[in-house]
Structures are given as structure tokens and as C-alpha cells.
Amino acid sequence: VTQLLAYCILPAQPPATTAAAPAAGVGGAPVRTVTAGELACLVSAIDTPLHADAPALRAYNAVIAAAMDRHVTPVPLRFGQLFADDAAVATAITEAAGRWLELLRRFAGRAEYGVRVFRSAAAEADTARDVHAAAANVGSARAGTAYMAALAQRSAAEARRRAALERLAADILLRAGETVAEARAEPLDSEHGVATLAHLVAWEHAADYHAAMQRARDEMTGLRFLCTGPWPPYSFVA
């Protein structure tokens, strides 16, 4: 079955934004615009079932990234949203038009940058490991008292991880100063993982932001940083 895969939402005006998008989308079909009032949506035809393999995800992101420019930043959609035809796309984006217009205003002139923070292997407390260990104890505890104690330990480990995450996120934001317009932080659930941070940064502040992250990387000993971007603002749609 052929359906329409939706990529991102843009303002209907100026329509020039789609000119920068790659001509071909996931699976090779041409990308085109469906317009509904003040909004537009980039779509391409695709044979279903849709496969979320690496080339498809790269092609998907490429379409959205190419629609970004200094003035317009699209609302990126989660991969895999299919529609029967143009009318179905138009109806769907119109239902929450106010939400999309507000996001477009917030995103205009800005892009997302990602920072994953890892603790150096030698560093003291590994809060992520503590949470996992405490959770495992909850799973293995049988007797009532032991179970309650294990629950309390897990809860305490989670609280420590949350507190460490918040301290770190605040510290990095302080270093980034006014280059960061909005920020998100969540625990990074992997070995030595501390935080997954997302920063919404205006294009004109990008160079200062990079410099600030470089300084943070140099000064915050015991931590490792993986910085990526610019991305479409996937982490800021909620």
C-alpha cells in the first residue's frame, strides 16, 4: 500500500523553505508540501510497511534538516506517521494548529544541540550503576521487610541520580550563559552515563555556545562530553 509519510511542519509562508529540502525522501519518492491554512507539512509517498532502518532514518532526518534555515525551523515529527492522502494530512495538522504555530514561533532562528555527559571510569559515584544495582535488589527481595528496604534503597538511588543530574545540568547552563534559550535534561542510562542534555540555541549564538561547551569540557574534570548538532529541535516538541 502506498501512503504519505509526514516529516515536519512548517509555516505556509514563506513557501521558499521547501526549496532547500532534498528532492527525494525515504525510499526515493519526491518530497512535496501539503498546505493547510497557515501551516504546511513536508510529505513523500512511501510503500508500506515502513522499515525503520538506518538509511530510512538518515533520509528522514535529512529532509527535515534541509528545511531549516536562519529564519524557519520546522517542527520535526516522530518517524513513522503515515496518512492516506493530502486531505488526511491537512486535517491532522489543522486539529492542533495553535500548538504548531506556537512551536514554530519558539523554534524560529534556533536549533537543537545535544550533549551527552559521561563520568570518567575512575570517578567516584556512578549514580546510574547505583540505580541499576538497587533495582536488581528490589527484583530479588522476597520477604516483606527486605522488599521494603530494597524499594527504599532504589528510591534513594534514583533521588541521588536525579540530584546529580540537576546539579550538572544547572552547572553547564550557567557556563553556557545566555547562549541557551531552552534546555532539557534527563538521565543517561548507560555505563558511566550521567546526563543527556538538549539545548535550544539561536544561530547567532552558536559560536559562543560551542566555545562555552568547549570550556565546560576542559574545566569539568572527571566528566566526558559528547556534543552533537545542530539538529532539528526533536527534543523540544513536548
Binding site: 511542519i9 522499515h51 525503520a52 538518515r58 528522514y60 517542527v75 506517521q81 566526558r224
Partner: protein, 62 residues
Amino acid sequence: MAEVPLSPEDELSLVELVNRVLDRGAVISGDVVISVAGVDLVYLGLSIVVSSVETMRERGHV
């Protein structure tokens, strides 16, 4: 997923991509049919990528 092996740098960008494109991003409306096949394969790769990031750190690439 018939693919050539990825270099660590490619894997790193892929994990960042997967995390955003499949886990984040806006959902247009509740009654949209999300029909994604092959997600399990991609997620399977995710833990491998996270460990490869650790390896890159040890090698001083990151």
C-alpha cells in the same frame, strides 16, 4: 538491515539520530497509525553503539 559495517563515528551519529527520530519528535494526532517495522533491529544496535562510544572515549577520540 543489509548494510555495510559502520565506523564508530557513523555509529555515534546513528545513535543520536535514532534517539531523536524514533523517541522524540512531535506526534501529529492520536489517531495516526504509526506503523514501523524493524525498530527492534535498530534498538538492538543501540546498546552496541553506547558501548562503542565508551571505547571511543578510552581511545581519546571523544
